[in-house]
């Protein structure tokens, strides 16, 4: 069974705030839920499927109570920042199987100003062997970046080109945390976080979140909104459980071909890509692994201007996690929202891809020692 065309994204919402000191996390979820349902022309009473990471309170149950939902289907998949891409795929499968008809996916996060402490170790089997050495997200991606440089000759300036491209888009996004255009020199001269990654190679840290409403075809037809079809979805988990994990490739090598096959489209048909950008190196490796360029050529590819509106593949036209928004260290939901905006023709006018019919959104959850890659192929209803 394929999910191709069996479910549609009817509503999306990205919380406009990036700093929410006086909100509770559940309030953020609620504001996002209402925003996405209003976008779809639906209400909380219509929701019969609920999807969240289950990180708040008693899994997803706490939020169903807070929101007053009465779902016949609940999913609490947590794969880090890629969770929300998984949720869309799972929602489409649940709808295709008749388990629910209106699936609500919400994210809420509040991390600004919170000093990250030692990671919880007692209930996570791998952490005791990592946190004692001062493991950080940036440190792990720095290990990947240095190895990528070693194997393929990637340079700090090429990494910086990813941030420059993001900032070119972010200048047009009134909600972006960082709207200032930056140069390659700005990036390589910013403070070193974990070499070779500078501060401007790292994503922003924001509060906020968003929500997505996925509906069955008959509900979709009853709504007065431009429809975005869920065409393909695939997941791949990469870890060291079978032996040493390489740090220069991502699970996209496995998830992207399956998602594209389910959608029945070729990568060359894709008009826009939302690509997880926790760090600049994440984008370079993912572009290679999705197949937009050959393995090892990602640095030269991004430095050629390929990510711009007139480039080979416009990427992260909202400014991405590097400039716009990366709520709670999880950028996956915002990636879907921008892909939907592009397919509806509702992106910021200066960043709208002309006649955008097909998009891919790709999430990388976790880090480079272990990760959950999720690829999602979305299309305009006439695609």
């Amino acid at each position: 069974m394929s999910i191709r065309g069996k479910a549609h994204i009817a509503g999306v919402y990205e919380h406009p705030a990036r700093d929410l000191p006086d909100h509770s996390v559940q309030q953020i979820h609620a504001e996002c839920a209402i925003g996405a349902l209003a976008d779809a022309g639906l209400s909380v009473r219509d929701v019969d499927g609920f999807f969240s990471t289950g990180q708040l309170g008693f899994g997803g149950v706490s939020l169903t109570e807070y929101l007053g939902l009465n779902p016949s289907y609940i999913d609490g998949t947590f794969t880090g920042g890629s969770s929300y891409l998984a949720h869309v795929g799972h929602a489409a499968a649940a709808i295709a199987a008749g388990k629910c008809r209106v699936a609500l996916i919400t994210q809420g996060a509040k991390v600004r100003g919170v000093i990250r402490g030692a990671k919880h170790t007692a209930d996570t089997p791998e952490f005791p062997f990592e946190t004692v050495y001062g493991e950080t997200n940036a440190g792990i991606y720095a290990l990947a970046a240095r190895r990528h440089m070693h194997e393929f000759g990637t340079t700090a300036e090429q990494l910086a080109a990813v941030k420059v491209a993001a900032s070119e888009y972010a200048q047009f996004n009134p909600h972006a945390l960082l709207r200032k255009r930056v140069t390659v020199e700005d990036v390589v001269n910013s403070p070193m976080i974990a070499d070779p990654l500078h501060r401007l190679d790292c994503c922003v840290v924001t509060d906020g979140g968003g929500a997505i409403v996925v509906v069955s075809p008959e509900i979709a037809r009853s709504l007065n909104r431009p429809l975005v079809s869920v065409l393909g979805h695939a997941e791949a988990i990469k870890h060291s459980g079978l032996g040493p994990n390489d740090l220069t490739s991502t699970g996209a090598t496995a998830s992207a071909p399956r998602a594209l096959a389910e959608a029945g489209v070729a990568l060359s048909d894709i008009d826009y890509a939302s690509i997880y950008d926790s760090f600049t190196i994440t984008v370079i490796m993912t572009l290679e692994d999705l197949g937009f360029c050959k393995k090892g050529q990602g640095g030269a590819f991004v430095a050629s201007g390929a990510l711009g509106l007139d480039g080979v593949i416009p990427v992260n036209t909202d400014g991405g996690g590097l400039c716009n928004n990366h709520p709670g260290y999880q950028g996956g939901l915002v990636k879907i929202v921008e892909a939907v905006r592009q397919l509806r023709g509702e992106a910021t006018p200066q960043t709208q891809v002309r006649d955008c019919k097909l998009a891919i959104a790709h999430g990388t959850g976790g880090g480079m020692l272990r990760q959950a890659s999720v690829s999602l192929v979305l299309g305009r209803s006439d695609a």
Binding site: I115, R116, G117, A118, K119, T121, A122, P125, E126, F127, P128, F129, E130, T131, V132, Y133, G134, E135, T136, A138, G139, I140, A142, L143, A144, R146, R147, H150, P191, M192, I193, A194, D195, P196, L197, S240, G241, L242, G243, P244, N245, L247, L369
Partner: protein, 139 residues
């Protein structure tokens, strides 16, 4: 606690009965890894299960403690116990018996390190029941 020579924190690891042999061996100056008795696979991170063949039959074996650097970084923004450390080297080391382990490289000028460089294990006391395996450049 802090290792006096390197000034690096030596946080006490979380130890369970499943992983205690690893930390006890390190405390005694040995690097022991679990190996699968069915398929001989070296298991990392330490656990009582072989993911390569699905076996619960594993045994602890001492390994050489020698290896080479797969990748490394000088971290300038530590978190948790490392928050006040100005900088330190985080690395992945491929030990000769076939495990790729996250660790620190100590007693070395970070600018002198290279991928592929030979390193050997040292142990830094971390509480009463464990020591942290770290690595130094091999002579």
């Amino acid at each position: 606690m802090v290792d006096i020579k390197t000034r690096l924190p030596t946080p006490e690891p979380f130890i369970s009965p499943e992983t205690r042999p690893f930390w006890t061996a390190a405390k005694q100056g040995r690097l022991d890894l679990p190996f699968c008795k069915s398929c001989n696979h070296p298991i990392w991170y330490p656990k009582a299960f072989c993911g390569a063949c699905g076996s619960l039959d594993v045994e602890w074996r001492q390994v050489s403690g020698e290896g080479k650097i797969y990748s490394y970084t000088q971290v300038h923004r530590g978190e948790g116990p490392y928050r006040d450390v100005e900088n330190y080297v985080l690395a992945l080391v491929d030990i000769d018996e076939g495990a790729r382990v996250l660790t620190n490289i100590v007693d070395a000028d970070p600018a002198s390190l290279t991928i592929g460089q030979r390193v050997r294990v040292v142990f830094h006391e971390a509480g009463d029941a464990a020591a942290l395996p770290r690595f130094v450049p091999a002579k």
